[in-house]
Symmetry: C2
DNA sequence: TTGAAAGCGCTAACAC
DNA sequence: GTGTTAGCGCTTTCAA
């Protein structure tokens, strides 16, 4: 801060008017101030280089024009993108964003406390791990503090949430392969039976299964390979799958991979095994397009709308703050876009239309 | 904010002591408060669920424990990473981070104004475009507001800067190829002669040139292809290069690509032209490892230490804030790490040792 | 060792 | 129309 900041008092003195008059013109309360006085004030403001102290203002208005963005996992570049969406609408609405420096789910409560003491007007929570807990959020709810939660799938219907359509993604990815003519579709499904199972894995797998069933195709459980959401997991899963199917007369011709990191590993393993892609194995993934556009072949993928999730959450939050109450308790589920690239073989088959 | 927040006054009343006593125990001014009084206060704090109002505190202490992070380009995932580094040290130091919602260089001044009115204790500027200007920073300097600048290469020696070693990156990348036995090395250099030339392009190109000269090798200017830092730029540059060298007996066997997006485009173009990589063309790039690890072949690259830049900048800033003055005017240049993957052919040649 | 009171910079009644 | 004044919640002399 400037050592000797000029205050509203200085402006008032310089302009030869009262403090409250200055306040009026600063805040555009035009009703009560004459044009000449107004000019005098404006002049003084300019000459002194006066900059209103937002802290002092917050003090009396009891609102800061600042929201807290709590990310349990700043480390993920993909999920970082939520900032872009949030920033976009907050800029338009004149809010500032405080981001949590405390990293990791376990520090979420600390972040909430810090932000509350800083008097943020509301919160956005972004998590990657899809925890089911509401623990840290309960006090917020009780104190009627505006907040919206992204990607957390909480059971509480009173909480405003923005969700990604995991089931739909699994369904769409699989259906895309079916439309391309594949009838035997395997899947790398992620951590389905972990200590705490990942909701996204479970849902995406359900999508795969139901899409197949809806088309009267078999959802062969031997072709469901579980592994962590990692490059290595994807690589090893493919090796396992290849082992399982090696003597099979009816090998799968397509593969749905439920996560981006896994998908890159899978592609690598497939190529290391000498398979031609997509001719001998068509692949569809889910996740970050920035990554998957650069694989070889470029990966057809369902692109998670993270930026849009940020926008939507921000809009809900801003409305809530401005109106003093939530529009209504809502849970918005965002669909993904299917980005057709090369790995699914659509560019070869010519079969895929829509 | 909670509608009816409990204040220090409530605590004082409940504990049967004076406001100033509560303040003392809250802030750990142990000197002046007896153990029984202290306990009474602590109890009241707990029972009431008192949370100090940081805004009110800031008001009188004239410091907010908040810094402003101004990014001219939030849209770049790579440069977003700076947040991670900054957050890491700010968390440890107990500062919060306000991020600029105003996007684009042209809005930098607006961001500065907003943050100043919010009384941030200091600034970190992160830019991608390496503007030479000091315009918006001059008032900060004049008012002795702590700030540090990342990736901007300002001439003013009094400004604290964190820089990336563009020249060194060009040099190292090229030298790596030389060590692998290449003697004819082309380069895609980026926007060297643009309306406003990109410093990074100029410097990286200088690194390429001098590394070659240092080894007594020709820096063939016909093999310097200019284009924007884009996927398309890289793709087209390779096409141009291939055209130029197609009848040449002494074709280049290696390529230094001065930017990550360009590099991905280049790889694609090379493969589309039917070249085997890295056997017929070895490639080294610069930029984001997350991207370039997934190309085919995986790209050997100089990985820009963006997170580290955030850390370093944050440390300098925090010191400045805490001591009331900068440690000294410094300009820290960070070297990149060479990440050896497949595109350079090191795994085949066995020549590369260090 | 504790408490009273001034004041941080600003807004918003309420008088004039 | 314009000015006076009482806070917002807290820290910090300074007395007691």
């Amino acid at each position: 801060m400037a050592r000797e900041a000029v205050t509203i008092k200085d402006v008032a003195r310089k302009a030869g008017v009262a403090i409250s008059t200055v306040s009026s013109v600063i805040n555009g309360h035009q009703q009560h101030v004459g044009p000449v006085t107004r000019e005098k004030v404006l002049l003084a403001v300019k000459e002194l280089g006066y900059r209103p102290n937002a802290i002092a203002r917050s003090m009396v208005k009891r609102t800061t024009g600042t929201i807290g963005l709590v990310m349990t996992d700043v480390v993920s570049p993909l999920f970082n993108e939520v900032i872009i969406g949030v920033a976009e609408v907050m800029a338009a609405e004149g809010f500032q964003i405080l981001i949590s420096t405390e990293i990791g789910v376990e520090n979420e409560d600390a972040a909430i406390e810090t932000f509350r003491s800083k008097q943020v007007d509301g919160f956005i929570f972004m998590s990657r791990t899809q925890r089911y807990t509401t623990k840290g959020l309960t006090p917020l709810k009780k104190d009627k503090i505006p907040f919206v939660v992204i990607n957390r799938y909480l059971a509480d219907p009173e909480i405003n949430q923005v969700l990604l359509d995991d089931f739909g993604n699994g369904w769409t990815a699989t259906q895309h392969l079916i439309r391309l003519g594949h009838t035997r579709i395997a899947t790398l499904c992620g951590p389905l039976h972990d200590a705490l199972p990942w909701r996204s894995a479970v849902e995406r797998n359900r999508g795969w299964q139901q899409a197949l069933e809806a088309h009267g195709l078999p959802a062969n459980q031997d072709w469901v390979i579980e592994s962590p959401y990692t490059f290595k997991g994807g690589y090893q899963s493919v090796q396992r799958l290849l082992e399982i199917i090696k003597d099979s007369p009816d090998r799968p011709t397509a593969l749905f991979v439920a996560n981006d990191s896994m998908c890159v590993g899978a592609l690598k393993a497939l190529q290391d095994a000498g398979l031609r892609l997509p001719q001998e194995m068509a692949v569809v993934g889910i996740g970050d397009p920035a990554h998957l556009a650069y694989t070889f072949p470029a990966t057809t993928t369902l692109s998670l709308p993270i930026i849009e999730a940020g926008r939507v959450a921000a809009r809900i939050l801003v409305n809530w703050i401005k109106n003093g109450k939530p529009e209504y308790a809502q849970s918005v589920t965002l669909n993904s876009n299917l980005i057709v690239r090369e790995s699914c073989g659509a560019h070869l088959s010519g079969k895929f239309q829509s």
